[in-house]
């Protein structure tokens, strides 16, 4: 197990890893290649293939030209909408989840196990099932067709995961540390601020990555609870893919998919290292 020592065994390990990596990259490669092919080329040859002429124009069309009905502004404004929902919802749900996780894990109070159990069930509820209840909640709060409404939904639904992640992480904080702090007269907030939060970056990165990707990629609520120009990017993408009575614009569609996937891909690319590190630091216990 020493780095650099080249043995047949290690060659085998490298071969296996590279083979699997290639298989993992394949679906992405297909989309990436199609994003550089024209719709005609794809229609007249095959869905999978090397671009005959590099259609970089697909990206220009995808970015600010293609039309969703009367609005021909490409994917660009929808990217902004998605950001306006995803960023606040990610931050708020992560912070609230951190406090809730801290409360459940380090401050015993009556009913804490029950609450924790119910929240765990929350991650199993398919979101299709929650669509109508949310419709009613948004009606009662007068937030139908606002981005604020979407932020609210994603924040509350996200609490299940963020609380779960943070709770599992904070459980590993030694009780002696807590006891010592309490003897010093530190209260709930002081301990959170002085002891828990400084220990938190690894797990907060995990929850941020998780929340960001899930909210960014969400479609059902995005399309139901917004209107016209406020729609998230997933809705704009679907308008390119689901035109049943029309020629599939695979080239532009793939380019738009690439652009729309960029933020989450970057988050994983740069956050991936911290993701594993954050999990290593205790979330898995």
């Amino acid at each position: 197990m020493h780095r650099g020592a080249f043995t047949p065994g290690r060659a085998f390990v490298y071969a296996v890893v590279c083979l699997i990596a290639a298989a993992y990259l394949l679906p992405f490669a297909v989309v990436a290649l199609n994003s550089l092919r024209t719709a005609e080329e794809i229609a007249q040859t095959s869905m999978i293939g090397w671009p005959q002429s590099w259609a970089f124009g697909n990206y220009a069309i995808a970015w600010d030209k293609f039309c969703v009905a009367q609005t021909c502004s490409g994917i660009q404004p929808y990217m902004a909408n998605s950001a306006l929902v995803t960023i606040p919802a990610t931050i708020i749900s992560t912070l609230l989840g951190a406090v809730a996780g801290y409360a459940v894990s380090l401050w015993r109070f009556p009913g804490d196990r029950w609450i924790y159990g119910i929240i765990t069930i929350g991650i199993f509820l398919p979101q299709q099932m929650r669509l109508l209840p949310w419709t009613i909640v948004l009606r009662e709060t007068a937030l139908t067709n606002t981005l604020t409404g979407l932020v609210l939904i994603h924040t509350i639904q996200g609490l299940s995961f963020t609380t779960l992640f943070c709770r599992n992480y904070y459980v590993a904080i030694p009780q002696e540390l807590m006891r010592a702090a309490r003897i010093d007269g530190a209260g709930f907030f002081r301990i959170f601020w002085r002891i828990v939060l400084p220990l938190s970056p690894p797990i907060l990165i995990v929850t941020v990555i998780w929340q960001f990707t899930h909210i960014w990629n969400e479609f059902l609520y995005g399309v139901t609870f917004t209107t016209g120009q406020q729609q998230p990017v997933t809705a704009a993408l679907i308008s390119l893919t689901a035109a049943v009575a029309d020629v599939p614009q695979h080239g532009v569609q793939s380019a738009a998919v690439m652009i729309a996937a960029l933020p989450t891909l970057l988050v994983y690319l740069f956050g991936g290292r911290y993701f594993v590190r954050g999990l290593t630091a205790g979330a898995v216990k």
Binding site: E40, Q70, T135, A245, D246, V247
Partner: protein, 428 residues
């Protein structure tokens, strides 16, 4: 627009003149505004509704269209959310029996006076008109029509098979398919494998075998008709069609086959008129294919009606009411229907529009002629596969059976008939 008849133009003008109807009179002074929900966001559908919006704006209106991209279900989710929030759109896309179903959950606007003023009822196929006036009052307006059982023939496949006659009956159709297969057309049928596509194959079969049985079984859900020998024969015909298809099509959209269809590797396709636009937009030529009415055993064309429509929801705001009025007039206007159909490849709802002009294709002319003939011989029926014959719950239950039958060759026509009756009973 030169392509419109004089009578049509007069009717349209009459509609515009009917500005004094009492229900809408308050709306006189304000700037008309219209909130619209539809799923038409891209391609020719998106282009057509955008053009309609432009016309609305030209008449001084404010056009507020919220396209809900995706599938019809998502569009209905959006509509449901708006209705539950007490804020329905002034106008939204809805079709078939769903118009009646949805009109029960929220108040709708009544369009009777506008329809009467435009003389619209006279120029709409009666079965179609009925769908848009549940309870006797017009609450929705059809916009464009497709037939779901048009027969597309590949010119090259026809040449390969040395065939020059367009099949009229299912026997002709089967003979041509065999002839093509013998001539080296590996897959004589170029249909896709999605749910509506499987539904289309079946409805084309049963309506072509007997429009009377189709009407009784699938429009009226008559229990006896559902078990009729014609239904079994239709299942047997669908099995033939399925066997002539490329098995790889599975859940694929038919458009993936277009290249092979035009090249003559595939021969025929039972599709809606919309496939014409798709073919042309894919860079293929009108000379590459022939469009004809789908097979009909009695020789007279059978027309499986699929019509898109707008329902008008009740709104108290004066500007929205004015907008609804303007929209209704536009939708009924022959010039607008001409513009719309020429973009999407459909045919106008109005039977009095002249399709001889340059903006129309032979396929569209043939479709319109087929509709006229079918209405005359009472063979214009409502499409099941495209949610015109039954409410969505029933349609989906029936299509479950059809799609399973198409994909599972071990199901016999007899078993399929039994499953069909079970499914209909279960969904009633």
């Amino acid at each position: 627009m030169k392509t419109i008849t004089r009578r049509g133009a007069l009717a349209g003008a009459a509609g515009l003149a009917a500005a004094t109807s009492p229900g809408f009179s308050r709306a006189q002074a304000v700037k008309p505004r219209l909130t619209v929900i539809s799923q038409w966001s891209a391609g020719s559908d998106g282009a057509a509704i955008t053009a309609l919006g432009k016309k609305f704006e030209e008449k001084g209106g404010v056009w507020q269209h919220s396209p809900v991209p995706g599938f019809t279900t998502e569009m209905m989710n959006k509509l449901r959310a708006q209705i539950m929030a007490g804020d329905p759109p002034a106008c939204s896309q809805l079709k078939g029996p769903e118009i009646a179903a949805w009109s029960k959950i929220a108040p709708v606007a009544t369009l009777d006076e506008l329809v009467a003023a435009a003389g619209y009822e006279k120029v709409v196929a009666p079965d179609l008109a009925k769908l848009h006036k549940p309870g006797g009052k017009w609450i929705a307006l059809p916009l464009q029509i497709y037939s779901t059982n048009m027969l597309f023939l590949s010119k090259r496949a026809m040449d390969k098979a040395k065939a020059d006659k367009v099949p009229v009956t299912w026997a002709d159709f089967n003979a041509l398919a065999e002839q093509m297969k013998a001539a080296g057309v590996t897959h004589p049928i170029a249909n896709g494998g999605t749910r509506p596509d499987d539904g289309q194959k079946f409805e084309a079969a049963i309506a072509g075998i007997s429009p009377t049985v189709y009407r009784a079984a699938f429009m009226n859900l008559d229990a006896k008709a559902l078990k009729a020998p014609e239904v079994k024969a239709a299942f047997a015909q669908v099995r033939k069609i399925a066997d002539w298809m490329d098995p790889n099509t599975a859940a694929q959209h038919y458009s993936t086959n277009l290249k092979r269809f035009v090249a003559g590797e595939m021969g025929m396709m039972i599709q809606g008129g919309w496939a014409q636009g798709v073919l042309l937009n894919s860079g293929f030529k009108l000379e590459d294919f022939i469009i004809a009415p789908g097979p009909s055993d009695n020789g007279k064309p059978v027309f499986l009606l699929n019509a898109d429509a707008f329902i008008f929801w009740q709104r108290k705001e004066a500007d929205l009411q004015a907008g609804q009025k303007l929209m209704a007039q536009l939708v009924m206007d022959p010039a607008i229907q001409t513009m719309y159909s020429q973009i999407t490849g459909s045919i106008p709802v109005r039977t009095d529009v002249d399709l001889s002009g340059a903006g129309w294709s032979d396929g569209q002319r043939r479709t319109a002629a087929a509709l006229k003939d079918a209405v005359a011989s009472n063979q214009a029926v409502l499409s099941l596969a495209h949610n015109m014959a039954q409410e969505n719950g029933m349609t989906a239950a029936i299509i479950d059976v059809l799609t399973e039958y198409v994909k599972n060759k071990s199901i016999t026509p007899d078993q399929a008939v039994a499953r069909l009756t079970d499914a209909v009973e279960g969904a009633r």
